[in-house]
């Protein structure tokens, strides 16, 4: 590197330190050339907003070098601030405190390619590398065509490419990217092994990035680190000799990018992308859609919870996130209110029974059912009870709020419609057996299942509109989408019913019964089953799109966030799967069963486990 590296171990910020009166440091997530990179929380937002804060410490005495560092910092800030591309982190803020300058930017949850290379035991697949390379071409095209002058990244290498948790590439460390000024000779900046000869002559044209991308692909496909080899010696390490799986078409693209003479390389990144796409199509085995959505499995050791909070008994329910707080019930009978950012205890409310469900919020109250037969309304301000409603059996259903009422089932065999403000019963619909499913309320009807297998559609006055009989209990909570209502049953079937008429549109057979509540996104339905699988079903054709096997029953309900599915399993893991293909992104182990539904808010996943802990993880 052409810039002095500064050791700054003694000056590392500690968790809790507040920068610029606003950014609360959580932990070190990386080391840059001139300081640390921290994950911090932007306390200006009540909701949790996590950011990356990159530090540059001018810890040198030579005023020339110090000046150089400060200039590099400002340049990075100014260039980055004007860039808008999904593969470039957004910049939010920058400021200087004494000798330290800070750049506040979008936090990328993921890992860099250098880390992935050092951890992998086998070669990356050709499709995987092609997918990354195509995305890198896209972002290079973007910066190379930047106005008024092209930006040359100048330091393309695995450690500057992050793969986020959605499997997409993010180009990081623009510290030495420089606005290209044609004709001028620039000082040498780059990394030996990845940089082309022309860069050593001080020329920084977009073609240096093309070479470095070729070098990066070579490294990924052969796992031979070019920094440990003689410069420009890729020709002596033919890819095929090291990794015979790689197609000729792909190798031809890389060879062209690695040409010694810049004129012999691709004219621009777009041309290289087209060549990659053509190679991908030619080899046939590369489905472009796979290429573009391919992802990495993050090993579990890389996943550290943001915080955990231990309660006194099992957690089987689902949290509610509202206004910077996590509300979750436990079998220790308490409803807990925790600070969502830190996991700090705020208050708890003791009921007289276990809390199996998910709380709901409305107008300064949290509503939750308890096995002590009651539905509670608890003030979010004081943590004190506003009212409670008695049923004649344990309440295992979760409250649903609509039309001035709380709708909730009880083991007393009724669905209760309770007035939101005073807790008085407005009406109840009789099911005759326990109602543990959580009702779904549309603007016309209330839908719920019962333990005798009867599914009910009732009007807001409690009149029966239609019913449908499954062979066994319906504990699963229904979801309505379009013209259909979907729910699972312990008879091993997922039902799609016309929400208006009660006609069965289709039935989907699972391996075993289900109490998981389906999650509907666009035309796809996701659900778990006691046959250990998480399923994705096409709601139009009722065909299975994919299924993923866990090591035990899936009684948790899947949720989707961005392009991933999150779901717990009795095997103790929380799983993150690609929504489209069902591939594993990562899993996080707990010491108990994960039976509740995870909740994701602002890129943080919250869930409980029967190991008595509440977890907050980066999604």
């Amino acid at each position: 590197m052409g810039v002095d590296e500064t050791k700054s171990t003694a000056l590392q910020l500690k968790p809790g330190d507040l920068l610029s009166g606003r950014y609360e440091v959580q932990e070190v997530v990386g080391v840059g050339g001139m300081g640390y990179v921290y994950r911090a929380r932007d306390t200006n937002f009540k909701a949790i907003r996590l950011v990356a804060v990159k530090e540059m410490i001018a810890q040198v005495t030579d005023p020339l070098v110090r000046n150089n560092i400060a200039q590099i910092f400002e340049r990075e800030a100014n260039i980055l601030a004007t860039l808008r591309h999904p593969a470039i982190p957004r910049i939010y803020d920058y400021f200087t405190q004494g000798e330290r300058s800070y750049l506040v930017m979008e936090l990328v949850n993921g890992r860099d390619l250098d880390q992935l290379i050092s951890e992998t035991k086998e070669f990356f697949t050709e499709a995987q590398v092609m997918g990354w390379a195509i995305e890198l071409c896209d972002v290079l095209s973007y910066i190379h065509s930047y106005e008024p002058e092209p930006i040359v990244f100048r330091d393309m290498k695995p450690s500057n490419v992050m793969i986020n948790n959605q499997g997409h590439i993010i180009l990081v460390d623009f510290g030495i990217a420089k606005v290209f000024q044609s004709g001028k000779k620039n000082t040498m900046i780059g990394t030996q092994g990845y940089s082309p000869p022309d860069q050593y002559r001080g020329e920084a044209t977009p073609k240096v990035d093309i070479y470095a991308l070729g070098a990066t692909m070579h490294h990924l496909l052969t796992l031979r680190d070019p920094r440990l080899e003689a410069p420009f010696s890729f020709g002596e390490r033919p890819i095929r000799e090291i990794n015979p799986e790689i197609s000729e078409a792909t190798i031809a693209v890389i060879d062209r990018a690695l040409q010694y003479d810049p004129d012999d390389r691709f004219a621009d990144a777009e041309e290289m992308k087209q060549a990659l796409m053509a190679a991908a199509q030619k080899t046939g085995k590369l489905d472009i859609t796979t290429v573009l959505t391919s992802s990495v499995v993050t090993s579990t050791k890389g996943l550290k919870p943001l915080w955990t909070f231990e309660v006194e008994d099992e957690i089987r329910g689902t949290p509610l996130i509202h206004d910077g707080k996590v509300y979750i019930g436990s079998y220790d009978n308490n409803l807990y209110a925790l600070n969502a950012a830190t996991g700090e205890f705020d208050w708890k409310y003791a009921t007289e029974g276990g809390i199996p469900g998910r709380p709901a919020f409305y107008d300064n109250n949290i509503f939750v059912g308890s096995e002590d037969n009651r539905l509670y309304a608890i003030s979010t301000r004081s943590g004190k009870m506003s009212w409670s409603h008695f049923t004649d059996g344990p309440v295992r259903s979760s409250p649903r709020i609509a039309e001035g009422h709380v709708f909730i089932g009880s083991d007393d065999g009724f669905l209760h419609a309770v007035n939101l403000t005073n807790g008085r019963l407005s009406w109840r619909a009789e099911a005759g057996t326990p109602v543990r499913s959580t009702p779904y309320v549309t603007d016309e009807f209330v839908y719920f299942g019962a333990e005798d297998g009867l599914f009910h559609c009732v009007s807001f006055r409690g009149d029966v509109k239609w019913t449908h009989k499954a062979k066994r209990a319906i504990t699963s909570s229904p979801v309505v989408g379009g013209d259909a209502v979907y729910f699972g049953s312990m008879d091993g079937t997922i039902y799609a019913m016309d929400a208006n008429t009660g006609w069965a549109i289709w039935r989907f057979r699972l391996g075993k019964g289900s109490i998981s509540s389906p999650c509907l996104v666009d035309d796809y339905l996701y659900t778990g089953s006691t046959d250990n699988y998480i399923y994705c079903i096409d709601t139009r054709s009722s065909r299975e799109v994919w299924r993923y096997e866990t090591d035990h029953q899936v009684t948790s309900s899947p949720v989707i966030y961005k392009d991933a599915i999150y779901c717990g399993s009795v095997d103790g893991n929380l799983y993150c799967l690609e929504a489209k293909k069902g591939g594993l992104r990562w899993k996080f182990p707990t010491q108990g069963a994960v039976t509740g539904t995870p909740v994701i808010y602002d890129d943080v996943v919250y869930f409980g486990s029967t190991d008595k802990n509440v977890y907050a993880l980066l999604a």
Binding site: A484, A496, D498, W503, A504, I505
Partner: protein, 307 residues
């Protein structure tokens, strides 16, 4: 049943006693019968109707270059307006037969008869019987089994013959479609979208899907009517069965390749949206296919919800 007749009477009485239209056409309508123009005018105005009901039209023609008509169609629309539920209901089928001698005609006729009798047989009791309810099977299962049944009937009655089958069962706001071959179902929306709901089971379409040929090449490919799935051909063909929302506002269009192979989507859209009624639109679609050469038999059915 009395309720149904009552509702039909109500429907007609409402139409004939509708308030004068802005253009004054109805002012003279004190004596029956009304002219076709007057009926069409009323049809266009009666967009809001209670109960909601399906309005369907059909067209079928031998074309200009064939001697026999191997296309068959079926259209059945019902309105049930009773205390518990208003369920607009309809079954619409297009089948395009193939095979030497008269086998093509026999195959498509059998396809339509077998499918319609199977599906209606399953639904008549729950829909129209004295104790209305829901059938044991789901709608997708009934449609799927209907196609398998039709396949078996063709195997028996028209050996060597084969047929496409595209059927839509409309129930309320949604429809269950079963499909084998290269007849098509479209969702036509007034905002200009014309969406093909079905996937042609033709070799040429498959080549196009695989990126081996372009859609322009496909349009003129000599084997463009060669199917890789059809009823009555060897092993039972697994139909594509799926559900979709009935386009509202818009139309469901089902037609054979004698229409979609000759008339562009844009031209079909223009005819459908400009026509005063579904049945008029179908006649005009047939005319357009014949004007374009009429190389093949033409069958088309067009359905919309009244409001």
């Amino acid at each position: 049943m009395a309720n149904i007749f009552q509702s039909i009477r109500d429907f007609f009485s409402r139409i004939f006693s509708s308030s004068p239209s802005p253009n004054g056409l109805n002012n003279e309508a004190t004596t029956a019968p009304l002219s076709q123009t007057q009926i069409e005018d009323i049809d266009k105005q009666s967009l809001k109707s209670q109960p909601p009901q399906l309005i369907a039209g059909s067209g079928r023609h031998v074309g200009r270059q064939r001697d026999n008509n191997e296309d068959a169609l079926f259209s059945h629309t019902a309105t049930i307006a009773v205390d518990s539920n208003d369920v607009p209901f309809g079954l619409y089928i297009v089948a395009d037969g193939m095979g030497g001698h008269r086998n093509g005609e026999i195959a498509s006729e059998n396809a339509v008869r077998a499918m319609s009798s199977y599906v209606l047989g399953k639904l008549v009791e729950p829909l129209f019987g004295p104790n209305p309810g829901h059938p044991e099977e789901s709608l997708q299962e009934i449609m799927h089994d209907g196609v398998i049944h039709a396949h078996q009937v063709i195997m028996e009655n028209a050996p060597g013959g084969g047929s496409t089958l595209t059927a839509a069962l409309v129930m309320g706001n949604q429809m269950t479609v079963a499909h084998v071959g290269d007849s098509r179902a479209y969702a036509v929306y007034f905002d200009g979208r014309m969406q093909v709901l079905t996937r042609d089971h033709s070799l040429v379409k498959r080549l196009e899907e695989l990126g081996q040929i372009t859609s322009d090449e496909a349009a003129v490919h000599p084997q463009k009517s060669m199917l890789y799935r059809a009823l009555g051909q060897g092993e039972p063909s697994e139909p594509d069965v799926f559900n979709a929302s009935l386009p509202q506002p818009g139309y469901l269009l089902i037609c054979s390749d004698g229409l979609w192979g000759l008339v562009s989507d844009d031209a079909m859209f223009d005819i459908i949206t400009a026509a005063p009624s579904p049945h008029k639109a179908c006649q005009q679609l047939v005319d357009a296919a014949n004007a374009a050469g009429g190389q093949d038999n033409i069958a088309v059915t067009l359905v919309r919800m009244s409001n």
